[in-house]
């Protein structure tokens, strides 16, 4: 297949699959999960081809319908898009492998076919978002991801999900309104919606309208920060990610919040270049918010007694890392942010899925009730420990490398505040993960509610994710060359 057609074909293929799925869910419900796995596997294969093609030939662009830009919609496959596509397909595939056995437990009965529809829709939305080269196409895909994400939270029946999902929906909609306002201002400034053309226009005449630049950037960044869960605007995140079913939490925490950080990267470095942004003070504000996120997320996580809420607050802190990498405005920072997106997606989805297995063993989400589960279900407990050590930042695991890259970026650009924050956050991560490990492994075991630790599906998925994490940690050169290339393309 021609390389430039792949990003578009991926999105279209997954979307058509998502539309076929309700049909299957109603009349042939045993075929839902195999079809989902087939579509996601084919997506992963195509994304791999795209990665190899982009590494060899450079960024590719495809114009839908053959209409050249600016009349047509441009679908751009550059380095960042290729990395995100591989990540999305990998994590969604193993999440569905995990979910094949856990769906009956956590989702409303009879709803597993519809859950697969939602998973395919959110995959199509996320993939469309990262490859889009047009601002309004990005907005439409952002809406698809928002609505599917809210429905993924609602997939677990019961009454405690409802206020959390409503909070998520209302705040995410406010964020979308702000993003649309920012896009409207950008259209007012440049007269183009295509990223490349708007960037050229901004470079030519953007410095003449400092206030309009400021307003457009502020609206877009605030809207994206609400949806990504950056510090003062993260209030929907703990409720939504802790009350959702385990597969939804893994997808939401692992992928959905990152995708908005990717949009921020595109707006900052592809639309406005770094020189235009130095005139505004947006990097200082984002830096303060990111450091606040890292510290506040960790402090909130220290006092949690619910395991999934602790992991959700940990996500708040890790989103701070990613925005820290973006806001220092250097290539190393961008590399660190992209590496942390990949590493944290793997780590957090692994942690949430392992937590799902552990919680299913006792039926309770509170840490004190999980005593000794690590020894009763050794594989799940071991994977949880691996994820926890990677978050703390032990060497040989991927978390260490992203912390090192971010600290290096802080040193290079003169933001010397970043280094003590990195060290402090590593210590805080240890402070809230190690007690959980102590309860899991060193306390008396309670009897298991069901024999759930021995199913093969979840364990294979956890093993695959852990394998990816170990590869990224032990042999970072495998990914780092391509990430450096992607960051350089985005920067220049």
């Amino acid at each position: 297949m021609v390389i430039e057609f792949i990003p578009f074909a991926l999105v279209l293929f997954t979307l058509v699959g998502a539309f076929i799925m309700p049909f299957l869910a109603r009349w042939f419900s045993r075929g839902c999960i195999p079809l989902t796995l087939g579509i996601l596997g084919l997506d992963f294969f195509m994304a791999g081809n795209l990665l190899r093609g982009v590494a060899a030939h450079g960024p590719v662009a495809y114009y839908i319908g053959g209409w050249p830009a600016p009349w047509g919609i441009e679908v751009r496959g550059d380095g960042l898009a290729a990395i995100m596509l591989i990540l999305i397909c990998f994590i969604m595939f193993w999440t569905v492998v995990y979910g094949a056995s856990s769906m009956e437990r956590e989702i409303t009965p009879g709803g597993s076919g519809w859950y697969c529809t939602l998973l395919l829709l959110i995959t199509a939305g996320m993939m469309g978002l990262v490859v889009s080269g047009d601002l309004f196409n990005m907005y439409v895909m952002i809406e698809v991801v928002t609505l599917s994400g809210c429905a993924l939270v609602l997939a677990r029946g019961g009454r405690e999900v409802l206020p959390a999902a409503l909070k998520y929906l209302l705040l995410a909609t406010i964020g979308s309104g702000f993003i649309l306002f920012g896009i409207a201002f950008t259209y007012l400034l440049t007269g183009h919606l295509n990223l490349g053309f708007a960037a050229a226009e901004l470079m030519a005449s953007g410095a003449q309208y400092p206030y309009l630049n400021w307003i457009a950037l502020t609206f877009m960044v605030i809207g994206l920060a609400v949806k990504a869960g950056l510090f003062p605007l993260h209030v929907w995140l703990p409720d939504a990610h802790s009350t959702a079913p385990s597969t939804s939490s893994a997808v939401l925490s692992g992928l959905v919040v990152k995708v908005y950080a990717v949009v921020v990267m595109r707006v900052f470095f592809q639309l406005y270049t770094a020189e235009l942004l130095q005139a505004t003070d947006i990097d200082q504000i984002l830096l303060i918010m990111s450091i606040g996120a890292i510290l506040a997320g960790s402090f909130f996580a220290l006092v949690q007694t619910d395991l999934k809420r602790l992991l959700a607050y940990s996500t708040v802190a890790q989103v701070g890392y990613i925005f820290l990498g973006i806001s220092v405005f250097s290539i190393t920072g961008l590399e660190g942010a992209i590496f942390h997106i990949a590493a944290h997606a793997l780590m957090k989805s692994m942690l949430f899925l392992a937590a799902g297995v552990l919680i299913a063993g006792t039926g309770s989400r509170y840490i004190n009730d999980l005593k000794g589960m690590g020894r009763a279900m050794p594989f799940a407990g071991g994977i949880f420990a691996l994820g926890a050590f990677s978050m703390i930042g032990l060497p040989l695991l991927a978390g260490f490398i992203s912390k090192y890259l971010l600290a290096l970026a802080g040193w290079e650009t003169g933001n010397y505040l970043v280094l003590p924050v990195m060290v402090l956050s590593g210590l805080l991560n240890a402070a809230y993960y190690l007690p959980v490990l102590r309860v899991l492994f060193w306390e008396e075991a309670a009897p298991l509610v069901e024999k759930t630790g021995k199913e093969r599906g979840p364990l294979i998925a956890l093993a695959a994710l852990a394998g990816g994490l170990l590869i990224m940690g032990v042999m970072p050169e495998v990914g780092r060359d391509f990430i450096q290339l992607a960051a350089a393309w985005l920067w220049g």
Partner: protein, 119 residues
Amino acid sequence: MDWSILGVNYPYIFSILLFSLGWLIIFTQANLIKKVIGINIMESGIFLFFLAIGDIAGGNPPIFVPGSEQVYVNPLPSAVILTGIVVSFSITALALSIIIKIYHNYRTIYMPELLRVLE
């Protein structure tokens, strides 16, 4: 300051007024349904802003009549806003469905009471 530009750019001023009004409604009203209505008003303001960008004074509707030279209004914002309205409608539908289910489960749609029940 040149006050005549306010007279020419009145759609933008009204759109920002609608946006602020919707924003205010979301944050001060306790009734959940009113919050959803506030979101709709806020999005209406955004759509008005977008449409006002494309408007040219004295322009004709953008339907190409072959063989005549006319100044057409920009059709791009209309297409964009149509998609935006559909998105806003879907979000309103989903939010109202969640509120109906909250009422079935918690017997209240006032936010302070809901927070008190959740404690």
